[in-house]
Symmetry: C2
Subunit: 367 residues, 2 copies
């Protein structure tokens, strides 16, 4: 049976590290001390191995641990359980990397659409893509639709709901989707472009499915969910045939995990089926490092294990003045998501959005 | 409209704290800077308020922030979004407390069963309850069922699956539930007791519902889920009428959040409908403090907002030798979950389990 390999950083006194490594190994599967493991089949086929213990600082060690893939039951929730279930409750551990064998991807098929299908949908092949967000929460559906129309007229490729737009009494999901999709269709008829509208689905699974059904019927071009809010395993279920639309994954509620961001967003969300992975670019309101962002983009686009590549979507306070810098950093296989910086421009919104669109096209030529 | 109040700890230089508080306020709802908020309705009815800024350390502040309850859409996923969605991505913030107005609980009804119904189910009124876990992962269904039988004969009140028992090729969910439930029924017929078996449901929502259906048909006494693995909003959906059985909430994958454990487990899981909340007792393999554990128990049992009380279930490496200490700490409105320490006893298992049961009964008399 194949093994799945996890890399953790553990804080430990050097004299205790072997014992700590053994405890971490056992915690994630059998959850019993070695002496209580009487069954030889369990010892041979369930209990993994500590492969490497490397000291990386005074009280810090890098551990590489393998578990038989069968422990994951090839199920998304159980996969997370084996990766970082109980250990997430222990503050001395972070999960840094996962190496999964090809057999996992018989079940985890990753992005159903991916970069190529998203490019085909918006009819753009040779430059970075542009995206913005409808906000603030509190605007009624017709005001959001007006913004959507203006952005579409300006030539944005994608217009998504802010992740905080739910099924609110002051702006219901259905009225928002109806009006914003209509507005974008109207603009497309005028511009000849194929801008897509991407509503945010949020709620318990039943609510998400109802919202999906309505949005699909209405002809939206993609959907967005926050996997950590609606459930990471629901992402897999949606991607695994139920969504039928490109899925944008938003990081809300996910950042506090002691899992390296490139692992949670760039690997796990993508393996579960995100077609585009939204994450905070470094230097904005959030704190991801350059290296984290580069890795996250690399993991998103990877075609290893035969998966479709997913778009990296840097966001989080990117100013339009930073387009060149950001695109030179990520390259053109990128969706550039700029929200607040356009919405701040008030009556200049269409003009500023057009500048953003033109700048992305211009910079893309030199990439 | 009612307000919901969040307390955060923020690390900030004193000179920057007012600006940081304002940014945190806006991040969770409108996600736009104040100057981009042109709409007066949004400013009055969506944007919350920074109520208090208190310095609690050299570079640490306690912030109390209110948001209009309407921002949560009274939806479990959106509620988490407003509480700690994007802010979870910012490492300088932790969520410490939530004060929710009574209107939230028109939607979040909390435990459907709670302490009273669980006591009625197992037929025990005047002492702390006992629970153990079936493990290790890797045993086939008949071996787990044999353990379940032995524990039930010993008089345990509740026997739950370990949270890592999924729908494995070597032990399918259905075979496990069938055999363990049969074993517990057989033991009950012999002892005259009402021990219940509580299987672990894990997977994407569709999988969880299939498992629930099978388990209910088979007559199990309760179910366990790990809300952070299967989706916190799914807990709400299950408790809100779909489960029809007491729900035990396991903390796996939830401990890494920068949310105070008593808030995530004792408030949020309970508000979403957990009837019994499992958490690591201090002094075991995990690191919760005494104060955290006491608050968690207090929050679980609270009947504020008209909710049923939920059982606190301290666990995580509790030795049978610690029964008195643990019960004196928590009191008898507690389910005491002891797993590994019983399973280590090998052929002495029934005898050790009986000692545990007797000890809980004895200590309960003096509480």
């Amino acid at each position: 049976m194949s093994q799945i390999i996890f890399q953790y950083t553990v804080r430990s006194e050097p004299s205790a590290i072997q014992e700590r490594a053994e405890a971490l190994l056992l915690e994630q599967t059998v959850e019993l001390p070695r002496k209580a493991l009487a069954d030889s089949w369990v010892n041979e086929h369930i209990v993994g191995k500590v492969l490497e213990v490397t000291r990386i600082g005074e009280d810090f060690f890098s551990l590489i641990i393998s578990h038989p893939l069968r422990t994951t039951a090839l199920d998304p929730a159980q996969f997370l359980n084996v990766a970082f279930g109980n250990s997430s409750l222990q503050p001395d551990v972070t999960l840094d990397n996962i190496e999964a064998p090809i057999e996992l991807f018989a079940k985890f098929k990753g992005p159903k659409f991916g970069i190529e299908s998203i490019r085909a949908k918006v009819g753009v092949q040779h430059r970075a893509l542009t995206c913005t967000a409808l906000k603030p929460m509190g605007l009624p559906a017709d005001r959001l639709a007006r913004l959507a129309y203006d952005f579409a007229i300006a030539g944005l490729d994608m217009i998504k709901d802010d992740h905080g737009l739910a099924d609110h009494e002051f702006c219901s999901f259905q009225s928002r989707v109806e009006e914003c999709q209509t507005a974008v269709e109207k603009a497309n008829a005028e511009t000849g472009l194929s801008t897509i509208y991407i509503p945010n689905l949020i709620g318990s699974p039943e609510t998400v499915y109802k919202q999906l059904e309505f949005a699909r019927q209405r002809g939206v071009g993609g959907i967005m969910i926050s996997p950590m809010l609606v459930g990471p395993a629901l992402l897999h279920e949606l991607a695994d045939g139920k969504a039928g639309l490109p899925i944008f994954a938003h990081p809300a509620f996910g950042g506090a995990m002691r899992i390296a961001p490139q692992v949670l967003l760039g690997q796990i969300f993508k393996w579960f089926g995100a077609d585009a992975v939204i994450f905070p670019h470094h230097g904005g309101r959030f704190s991801y490092s350059r290296e984290t962002c580069l890795k996250l983009a690399e993991f998103s686009r990877s075609t290893s294990h035969g998966l479709h590549p997913a778009f990296p979507v840097p966001a989080g306070g990117i100013k339009t003045s930073r387009v060149r810098e950001v695109l030179e950093f990520y390259g053109k296989e990128t969706i550039l998501l700029v929200g607040g910086s356009l919405l701040e421009s008030g009556s200049e919104l269409v003009a500023k959005a057009k500048e953003f669109v033109a700048e992305v096209a211009e910079v893309s030529k030199s990439l």
